[in-house]
Amino acid sequence: MENEKRIRAFLSERFPAFDETFDRAEDLSLVVDSLGLFDLLEFVEREFNVDVPTEEFSPQKFSSIDRILEFIDQLQAHS
């Protein structure tokens, strides 16, 4: 829950098209552009203290809040 709040706070601040009405499973592909995707990745690495290996990166893993949380869980489990 705490992780979700942090992600939502970042998305609201960085992407004007994002608001609180977004569902956890809702598609973020029109909100987060390619550059935004890169910023989101850096945010995840910095904020959750994880390292995303280049070969693990895929836009699909950042396509919804649910998927981002799942990806963070995976990275934390492996670190």
Partner: protein, 497 residues
């Protein structure tokens, strides 16, 4: 009987022995118009059947979110009713051809269904097969799909034995390379070289075969074989040959870029029902796009780009742009829809692309799975290593352009002009994307004062400007030489000024 058929007047589609075909209407021009009109409307029927099936399925499986279906259902129903009266001649022509060739052994000319829309001929038997194999297991459904499409392709001349052998040889070599104990990157580059070799071989030595006719769709195989190498080498989804071949097979029918993992993810129960529902939706969208593409083709035959000026020229260019993109939607969504009907969870390739407000958004809505590959393997590594935004954007667009250009460059009609105009197209796109990212950052106060973000009026202006941008680019690409290009620009600009 054979003598009687041989004595009948011949049409481009065989003997004129079916209702709706008489000797007086056998000139190619009349036949082509007749065929296009009937196929456009029979697409509506296909769409209507798809939407009806979709509703029943949604009701039975209690699947929500059918608002998109209700929205345009009435117009579609009207077209569907009209289409019912016109669908019959097309299938009679097909039936008559099949009967005379395969039952009577008569050498009738193959019906020419190469025009738009071509949807009903391809999907009608496959949708039927999907319903018949509804309760089968995944492997049996996939085997049925591949066998039926092979048989259908061979029967109607979309495929030939030489093409099939070339394809199987290509898939076998790719599979062997992926299994070699080499690094992922090395495997990926060898696979790129193999795909380019396939394009060369089919263009030069297999000219006239089905696989050569599909050469334009071969270089986008690169993302697919690349994904395969990465997925297999990552040990997340080891490849099997019996899955690898059908995975690549769809691409030969101008299918979308897919990942191996998406296509063969295991689905069952309610999720399987949702996947099938998504299949009907994809076919429904393809049917609508098919009608739009046929409509724009007819429109541009009446209102030619080289005869218009000013706003009418811009509108005609818009029609051309929409028509061209709709044809790609038809091809991709047909493959996606059929695969989903057979229970394979393939993702969408488009997201309401006509509503893009900027060139950046256009590429966020268009060919999504190809974009994902470019972002993952071109844009992201450059940004990660050097944070060079301009280089990352331009490299992504140049790689995309190269994959589109290579097959076309094999054509004997290809000239320096074509190369220049195509390269310019991708560079202009890259620059547009870069400036759309950079300009708001340079003028934050102005952007804030104008209220550009989250404002309906600005969204509409954005859609109009982006559509105009791609319409003009379409018009420029449609010009055959430098003189025509200059003439197009002059006619567009002078009238406005």
């Amino acid at each position: 009987m054979i003598d009687r058929i041989n004595s009948l007047p011949q049409t481009p589609y065989g003997p004129a022995a079916v209702k709706g075909y008489d000797a007086d209407r056998s000139s190619p021009a009349v036949d082509a118009t007749f065929l296009k009109a009937s196929t456009a409307l029979s697409s509506a029927v296909t769409g209507f059947i798809a939407s009806a099936y979709c509703r029943v399925l949604a009701l039975l499986l209690k699947i929500p979110n059918t608002a998109w279906l209700t929205r345009d259902h009435r117009v579609f129903f009207g077209l569907a009713v009209l289409g019912l009266f016109l669908i019959t001649p097309r299938f009679l022509i097909l039936g008559q051809f099949a009967f005379s060739r395969f039952v009577l052994g008569h050498s009738a000319a193959r019906p020419d269904f190469t025009g738009w829309p071509y949807l009903p001929v391809i999907i009608a038997p496959l949708v039927l097969a999907a319903l018949v194999t509804f309760s089968f297991g995944t492997a049996a459904r996939l085997a049925s799909l591949v066998s039926l499409s092979l048989l259908g392709g061979l029967a109607f001349g979309y495929l030939d034995v030489a093409s099939l052998l070339a394809f199987v040889a290509f898939a076998t070599v790719c599979f062997a390379v992926i299994r070699l104990p080499i690094s992922r990157l090395t495997a990926a580059f060898i696979l790129c070289a193999l795909t380019l070799t396939l394009t060369l071989v089919t263009s030069w030595w297999l000219a006239g075969t089905a696989i050569a006719a599909m050469a334009a769709f071969q270089t986008p195989l690169i993302p697919m074989v690349w994904y395969s190498a990465y997925e297999h080498k990552g040990q997340r989804r080891p490849l099997t040959f019996q899955r690898f071949v059908p995975y690549l097979y769809g691409r030969f029918f101008a299918g979308p870029v897919m990942t191996y993992g998406d296509m063969f993810a295991s689905v069952s129960g309610e999720r399987l029902a949702e996947v099938r529902f998504g299949g009907i939706k994809a076919l429904y969208v393809a049917a609508v796009a098919s009608i739009v593409a046929a409509g724009t083709d007819l429109l541009l035959r009446e209102f030619r780009l080289d005869e218009l000026t000013g706003l009418p020229l811009l509108i005609a260019s818009y029609a051309g742009y929409v028509g061209m993109y709709c044809k790609i939607v038809v091809a991709f969504n047909t493959v996606t829809g059929i695969l989903r009907l057979f229970g394979l969870p393939v993702r969408d390739s488009f997201n309401y692309w006509l509503l893009a407000r900027t060139p950046n958004e256009h590429w966020q809505r268009w060919n999504l799975l190809f974009r994902e590959w470019v972002i993952t393997f071109v844009f992201f590594p450059i940004m990660r290593a050097k944070r060079w935004l301009f280089a990352a954007i331009m490299s992504a667009l140049i790689v995309s352009g190269a994959l589109h250009l290579i097959p076309a460059a094999m054509s004997s009609q290809w000239t320096v002009y074509h190369t220049t105009i195509e390269v310019s197209y991708w560079i202009i796109n890259g620059l547009a994307i870069y400036f759309v990212i950079k300009i708001p950052g340079r003028f934050p106060r102005l952007i804030s004062a104008l209220g550009v973000r989250d404002n309906l009026a600005w969204s509409i202006i954005g859609i109009v400007l982006t559509s105009s941008f791609y319409s003009i680019l379409y018009g420029m690409r449609a010009s055959g030489n430098w003189t025509d290009l200059v003439d197009y620009c002059e006619r567009l600009v002078t009238s406005v000024l």
